[in-house]
Structures are given as C-alpha cells and as structure tokens.
C-alpha cells in the first residue's frame, strides 16, 4: 500500500461491535479498505455473514452474540483472537420525555450503550486480548448529544455521557500498556436508527434541525474515517479525548 504508513491499518486486527448495520458496518468496511482485518459482532448472524462475504474471509470474520447478555460478552471476549483495538459501535436510541421514563426503558438503553461497553472492555482487558505496547487503540462511538440537552433525549444522552466519561477513566487505566482510548461524538448521521427517530418527529422538525448543520447531516463514512484515524498510528499521541463530528452544528453559531 502506498501513502503515509501512519494512516495504514496494515497487519492490525480490530473488534467492531454493532457490525451488522449503520456506523458499525461502515467502520468494518473502512478498516478493511485501510488494510486492516476485523472481527465483527452483532446479534444478527445472517447480516454478519453477508458482511464477511462482502469484505472477504481473509479480512473479516464474525462472532454472533447478544452484547446485552453476560453470556454474549463472555462469548466475544473468549472467542476473539488478540486485537490491536476495537470500536464500540453497538447502541440503541429511544426518545422519551422525562415523565415517561421508567426503570425498564432506562435499563434497556443503559444496558447496551453503557453497561455492555464497560463489561466487554473489562473482559477483554482481564483476558489480555488487547495487545500492549503496540499502539493499540479503543474507539467508543458516543454522541454530541452528551454535550448538550436535547429535549426527550435523556435515555440516550445519559448513556452516551456515561460512555464518554468512562472513556477518560479507561484511557488513564490502560495508558501504562500504551493502549489508547478515545471517543467520537457525532451529530446526526443518516442511518436506520436516525430514520426511526425521524419517523417519531415531524418532518418539519427534522428539516429545521437539518438546517442547523452548516455542513448538513453526516454519513456513516464521515464517522468511519475518523475511526480509522483514531485506530491508526497517525493518532498515537492522542488518548482520553473526544472528537466531535457534527458538521459545525454546535460551534458555528449564527
């Protein structure tokens, strides 16, 4: 491969959660396009096999598992071969005004977006699956939502706030092994999850929101490109950071 070797993922192997769709799937494609190998996990095995078929068996493999359950986490941590890092892109979103929040929906969102992230990293570190002193890199897909206070987004925003905060702590704990941890905090990205939210809101609300993005809504590729940078040695001096990708939504004000 030609080009700057710092940006290459050649000879690196990454775990990607949420690999069957949306941002996670796009990140798998970008890692392979940058020369790396991936092991993707998700619940839907049929979509994962499709992903492996598309990317090639030499570049991609999968572990079908439900991250929401301890058995799923144990399966992933047990089966995955040594990695140079991972991307935690599994997540769900649910809109609810404060007064309708119950323990059940709070736990459902916190479980997959936060608890499972922490528990998976705990198992991977305990089993020494993440290579040390080798520029390994962990990327957590959080959200710009956690920097602001969008109405009705509490379930999601709270879980992403927890994720971003945890990222700094884990970065500190793993720094002695030279394993880096950074988060990406994207604004609205066009995925199936975003379309679901659009369906709940009126099209006028979505249109008004879109206009607040000087560069428009993002695409999964926009997030994947940043993930590749954070996984690569090009970012080897960067840890404990959050990278905001929001097309200028929150910094460029009229």
């Amino acid at each position: 491969m030609t080009g700057n070797p710092f940006f290459s993922l050649q000879d690196k192997h990454f775990l990607v959660t949420g690999a069957s769709s949306g941002i996670g799937l796009c990140i798998c494609r970008s890692i392979v396009a940058s020369g790396g190998k991936i092991t993707g996990t998700a619940r839907r095995g049929n979509l994962l096999s499709e992903m492996v078929r598309e990317l090639g068996e030499n570049n991609a493999s999968f572990i079908e598992a439900d991250l929401a359950l301890d058995e799923g986490i144990d399966k992933i941590a047990g089966e995955v071969e040594d990695i140079d890092g991972l991307v935690y892109a599994a997540g769900i979103s649910k809109m609810s005004p404060l007064k309708f929040i119950k323990r059940q929906n709070l736990e459902e969102v916190m479980n997959i977006n936060y608890f499972s992230m922490v528990l998976l990293l705990a198992q991977l570190v305990r089993q020494k699956k993440i290579k040390k002193n080798n520029h390994s890199s962990i990327v957590l897909i959080s959200s710009v939502a956690q920097q602001v206070g969008t109405k009705s987004s509490l379930l999601y925003t709270g879980s992403k706030g927890a994720m971003s905060a945890a990222g700094r702590v884990i970065a500190n704990e793993l720094s002695s092994q030279k394993i880096r941890v950074n988060t990406i905090e994207p604004g609205m990205v066009q995925t199936a999850m975003a379309s679901e939210m659009e369906d709940v809101l009126s099209s006028e609300t979505v249109e008004k929101d879109k206009q607040k993005y000087p560069l428009g809504y993002g695409t999964p590729e926009d997030v994947a490109n940043a993930a590749v940078f954070l996984l690569s040695d090009a970012s080897r001096w960067m840890t404990g950071q959050s990278l905001t990708l929001d097309g200028g939504r929150y910094k460029l004000l009229d």
């Binding site: 609810s96 005004p97 309708f100 009705s152 369906d199 709940v200 809101l201 009126s202």
Partner: protein
C-alpha cells in the same frame, strides 16, 4: 379503549392549557401550547397507556383529538 379516558390523558400532557377547553373536537395542532415536545408526550402517553406505537405521521395525518383516538383504536 375509552374515548373520554383518552381525552383526559391527552389533556394531561398540557401544562398551560385549561383541560376544560380541550374537547374531542379540538384541532390539537392549532392549540397555542402544541409543540414538538407535546407531540412526543402524546406518543409516549399512547405507548404507556395503550401499549401502541404511533408516530409523527399519525399526528400529522389527524386533525381532531377524536380522529387521533380513532387512529389509535384501529392499531
């Protein structure tokens, strides 16, 4: 599903509007207090009380509270 219970639950989502002024014939999107936030409250209320999912288009495509009630009943 009870129509009047639905009306009462609907009216409860408003903080400023006197419930007495809200009836089944009210065109809810023309109410002064109507907003995207109230819309989310209505969606959440229907989910909680009736275990039914409605979306923004159900609200868009109905005019009065009664029409919305009929739409929810049919789901």
């Amino acid at each position: 599903m009870d129509k009047h219970q639905f009306l009462q639950s609907f009216a409860e989502q408003f903080d400023e509007t006197d419930p007495e002024t809200i009836s089944l014939e009210t065109k809810f999107k023309e109410m002064e207090e109507w907003s995207s936030m109230v819309a989310l409250m209505i969606i959440a209320m229907v989910d909680e009380n009736y275990n039914k999912k409605i979306t923004g288009s159900d609200l868009r495509e109905t005019g009065t509270i009664e029409e919305l009630y009929e739409r929810v009943s049919a789901k």
